[in-house]
Amino acid sequence: MQPGLQAYLTVAGILFAIGFFGVLLRKNTLVIYMCLELMLTASTLALVAFSRFYDTMDGALFVFFIITVAAAEVAVGLAIIVALYRRRRTVEVDELNYLKH
């Protein structure tokens, strides 16, 4: 059976759910960041599938902007994590609780 639009959307949905699961479950900031990237990638997969099956270029062009924003976000986010590590010597989110006490 030839995989159709629904098959691609299902894969994209499962990938997004796994990314969300990782953000909820993991405590390491770097892994949380990777899971965020996974969610962004899942959204690009859905956009490309829509764009291909409905024969329009707009979705594929929008993927460009998502990749740009993701690259900028990774650069700034990792700089923040390094700055945090310099000060606190940890990247675990449950040890970053200064505002709590």
Binding site: Q2, P3, G4, L5, Q6, L9, T10, V11, A12, G13, I14, L15, F16, A17, I18, G19, F20, F21, G22, L24, L25, R26, K27, N28, L30, V31, Y33, M34, C35, E37, T41, L45, V48, S51, R52, Y54, D55, M57, D58, A60, F64, F65, I67, T68, A70, A71, A72, V74, A75, V76, L78, A79, I80, I81, V82, A83, Y85, R86, T90, V91
Partner: protein
């Protein structure tokens, strides 16, 4: 053949994505992430988005993941047990199942188009830009209809660059050099 490739690579992608979440070592997670992103690139090829597949490999699996690996190895965080309380695990799995189920349900609300429409290789000038494989199509779309977002994206990259430089600059107190030694201090 294309159906087999689709099922094989989507299974590989989902498995690698699960391993990203479940691995203890951040480095292993990053390696699995490269596999998952490459799998998505293969799915792009199956959708005949060749240019985006190359971009995915170069930008995501290449640049972004190298940056991730560099930071993981620079910070040298020790692997620790993923200590999850049962409550967290139950909520996490419930969220996973609910979100995946909802996404699958939503995906089945769309009419299932199985036939790929015929594509041109080069862009044509019809009103909604039709799907075409050549990299030229992307340039055509970006420099006509999406000119303003394109400029804004460029400006966003500039802001990100300035932000990263400001963030990673060491604070200098009254002009004296910070003590050297540990590169992270």
């Amino acid at each position: 053949m294309s159906a087999f490739l689709f099922y094989f690579f989507s299974a590989l992608t989902i498995l690698a994505a699960l391993l990203v979440v479940l691995n203890r070592e951040a480095v292993t997670s990053a390696m699995c992430m490269i596999v998952a992103l490459s799998g998505v690139a293969v799915l792009f090829v199956l959708l005949q988005a060749y240019f985006l597949a190359v971009l995915q490999i170069v930008v995501y699996a290449g640049a972004v993941m190298v940056l991730f690996l560099f930071i993981i190895m620079l910070l040298d965080t020790t692997a620790r047990r993923i200590h999850v309380t049962e409550m967290n695990l139950v909520f996490g799995v419930a969220a996973l199942v609910a979100l995946a189920g909802g996404a699958i349900w939503l995906a089945h609300q769309y009419p299932n188009v199985t036939d790929l429409p015929a594509i041109q290789q080069l862009p044509t000038d019809q009103a909604p830009l039709a799907y075409a494989t050549a990299a030229k199509t992307f340039g055509f779309g970006l420099f006509t209809r999406y000119m303003l977002p394109f400029q804004v994206a460029g400006f966003l990259l500039l802001i990100a660059m300035v932000g990263v430089i400001v963030l990673s600059k060491r604070p200098m107190v009254d002009g004296t050099k910070p003590p050297s030694g540990d590169p992270l201090r």
